[in-house]
């Protein structure tokens, strides 16, 4: 596993991260303080967990545009369930279940009807957001204080989100690198037909990947709702773009078969640091979007360049 991480573009990402941190700390004196960084981990965790699901789906050669809408739907479900008097724990479970089911729907349609994932999840993106808008009637729903902990609490000195997200990343990475599940997903991503003939249960494994993506989006919905203490249907707009950026910047290939979970995590950290750092330094938010766009294109172009060099050597 460690070898795999080192072989990838992980080192480049680390260098970018160090450069970004250096630049940010020179722009703002507050940046490299423990308080600031600990607080930043809340945002980092939220951004990175949605990238985790996307990385899984991209590994299978698919894409999931519905994550932002799923986040909103799970948020609204949590709010409505709490309002209806369902105990907090059950309400959280319910909204996570919604995520799993929504992801399952995506995966099932992609596999069974053989429609490109881009189209299916584009449709469910509108569908999930529309349902969220419809059932919440477009208004913000306050959530009870009993769930605040999930978004605002600490485990020891660390924010809850940081612990949850890091655990999720470690669990997924272990499963991907150490169990058959990872091999299956990679095989499906490289060549689905070959995977079918090798006896891999393609449909079930792909559906699992989409379910996980839905689950992580729902988890983000829950944590985000608890942090800002109200549920709303317009959360997570354009988050799918963030998630794709993270996965691809982290080293995943949209053609499938290639993904790097450690890379995705670092990519999320870099992106959040650029956003937060520039905001703290009172630099126009628009420059952030230019920088992030440039980084995405350059990083992917560089990855492709390295990959093509490697092929020549072989």
């Amino acid at each position: 596993m460690i070898k795999k991480i080192l072989k990838s573009n992980f080192l480049i990402l680390l260098i970018v991260l160090i450069v970004v941190m250096g630049v940010m700390s020179s722009l703002s004196e507050y940046f490299l303080t423990a308080d600031y960084l600990l607080n930043a981990t809340r945002f980092i965790s939220e951004t990175s967990i949605i990238g985790l699901g996307m990385t899984l789906v991209i590994l299978t050669g698919g894409i999931d545009l519905s994550v932002g809408s799923m986040m909103a739907l799970s948020s609204v479900c949590l709010g409505l369930a709490c309002q209806a008097g369902i105990p907090a724990a059950a309400a959280v479970m319910l909204s996570l279940l919604v995520g799993v089911l929504g992801g399952g729907l995506n995966g099932y349609v992609v596999c069974k009807l053989k429609i490109p994932a881009l189209i299916v999840t584009l449709a469910t993106m509108g569908l999930f957001r529309g349902i969220a808008l419809g059932i919440s009637k477009g208004s913000a729903i306050p959530v009870p204080e009993s769930v605040y902990y999930l978004g605002q609490g600490n485990i020891g000195p660390l924010p809850v989100q940081l612990v949850v997200t890091t655990l999720a990343y470690i669990l997924v990475a272990v499963f991907i690198y150490k169990s058959n599940f990872g091999t299956y997903l990679k095989g499906i991503g490289y060549n689905e037909e070959v995977a079918v003939f090798s006896g891999i249960k393609v449909t079930w494994n792909k559906v699992k990947a989409y379910m996980l993506s839905g689950f992580f989006a729902a988890l983000l919905g829950v944590m985000f709702t608890c942090r800002v203490s109200s549920a709303k249907a317009d959360y997570g707009n354009n988050y799918e773009m963030d998630a794709i950026t993270i996965a691809v910047f982290g080293g995943a290939s949209l053609a499938g078969g290639k993904a790097n979970f450690a890379g995705s995590y670092i990519a999320a950290v870099i992106i959040v640091f650029i956003r937060l750092g520039l905001t703290t330094a009172a630099i126009q938010t628009e420059i952030q979007s230019v920088i992030i766009g440039l980084i995405l294109i350059l990083a992917v172009a560089f990855n492709n360049f390295v990959a093509s060099k490697k092929q020549v050597e072989l």
Binding site: L118, I119, L127, R129, L133, L254, V290, V300
Partner: protein, 320 residues
């Protein structure tokens, strides 16, 4: 080709259902004003969706269209406020669209990036630069002369409707009767065989992106003059509208499939749904859900039909 006829048939069936329900439930739907209103709403979507169709045909995708629309709208606004003649304003907007389209095409083909990643990155670059340049200010108070393009009428029908009809006809001609069109289909169906048969694949893909840019530039002129003012966040999420229009109309995101008639019907459905749902008495809050559901059903229905026929064919034995 074959799948597309399915898409058009399915869309026509959709329209038939909508019309029948309308006749029964809301006869007030059938007014001349309502019809022109729907066509007016469709015009910008349909024009730009034609551009998106070209990009999808060569097997790429352009998610930066929303930002390109904002850039072209801003250009239109600035040029019009400077008091330049109408033709210069239009050409200016088209030129900006063309420029950004070519940049998209160059980045995708020269850096060998996935189109979705490249245009995603360019989307945020364009949007950022645009706001830095315009300082995020709104543009309004355009001279009355230029507003005629978006708000004027000939024989009771809004001018944008005529423009969109001309563009659809032109695109039909380009895609079906010219070398460019055939190259688009060839490249999208199989890049290798297209290259081996002497088509310049990279150039074809760049042209597709350029056409998309020009179409968005034209849509921007109509958009700006119709509403008489623009905000810097114009066109946010618009890429999804265009992609859904094209896909509902039977275009494939894998390339090589789709045609003008289907995409026009798709654009009409996507833009008319809002109005239709109001007449159905569906709460505006549920509009997006129904819209998503209809896109979902229509796309799924094409796939199901396709499969059934395929199964039938294999059962009956293949004919040589």
């Amino acid at each position: 080709m074959y799948k597309n006829r399915k898409a058009i048939k399915a869309l026509l069936a959709f329209y038939a259902i909508i019309l029948i329900v309308m006749i029964c439930r809301a006869p007030s739907f059938f007014t001349f004003e309502n019809a022109t209103d729907i066509l007016l709403n469709t015009s910008t979507t349909a024009i730009a969706a034609m551009g998106m169709l070209c990009v999808l045909l060569v097997g790429d995708i352009d998610v930066s269209v929303g930002a390109v629309l904002a850039a072209c709208c801003t250009t239109t606004g600035i040029l019009a406020k400077a008091g330049l003649p109408m033709i210069v304003v239009i050409l200016g907007s088209l030129a900006v669209g063309l420029l950004l389209g070519v940049v998209n095409g160059l980045v995708v083909t020269m850096l060998k990036l996935d189109a979705i990643v490249a245009t995603l990155g360019l989307l945020s670059i364009y949007r950022g630069l645009l706001i830095i340049i315009t300082k995020g200010s709104w543009i309004n108070g355009l001279p009355a002369g230029i507003l005629k393009i978006g708000q004027g009428k000939w024989f009771g029908i809004p001018i944008p409707v005529y423009i969109s009809i001309v563009i659809v006809a032109l695109m039909w001609f380009i895609l079906n009767r010219t070398e460019w069109g055939r190259n688009f289909y060839a490249v999208g169906s199989n890049k290798d065989s297209a290259r081996l048969s002497g088509i310049n694949v990279k150039l074809t893909r760049i042209i597709a992106f350029a056409v998309c840019g020009i179409m968005v530039g034209l849509a921007a002129v109509i958009y700006t003059t119709r509403f008489g003012g623009i905000q810097s966040n114009t066109g946010k999420g618009w890429e999804m509208t265009l992609i859904s229009s094209a896909v509902v109309g039977g275009a494939s995101t894998v390339g090589g499939e789709g045609d003008v008639a289907g995409v026009f019907l798709g654009a009409l459905l996507v833009s008319a749904l809002g109005t239709v749902l109001v007449f159905f008495g569906i709460d505006a809050l549920w509009e997006q859900a129904v819209q998503g559901l209809i896109i979902f059903i229509s796309v799924a229905s094409y796939a199901i039909d396709f499969k059934k026929v395929k199964a039938k064919l294999t059962k009956g034995g293949r004919k040589a």
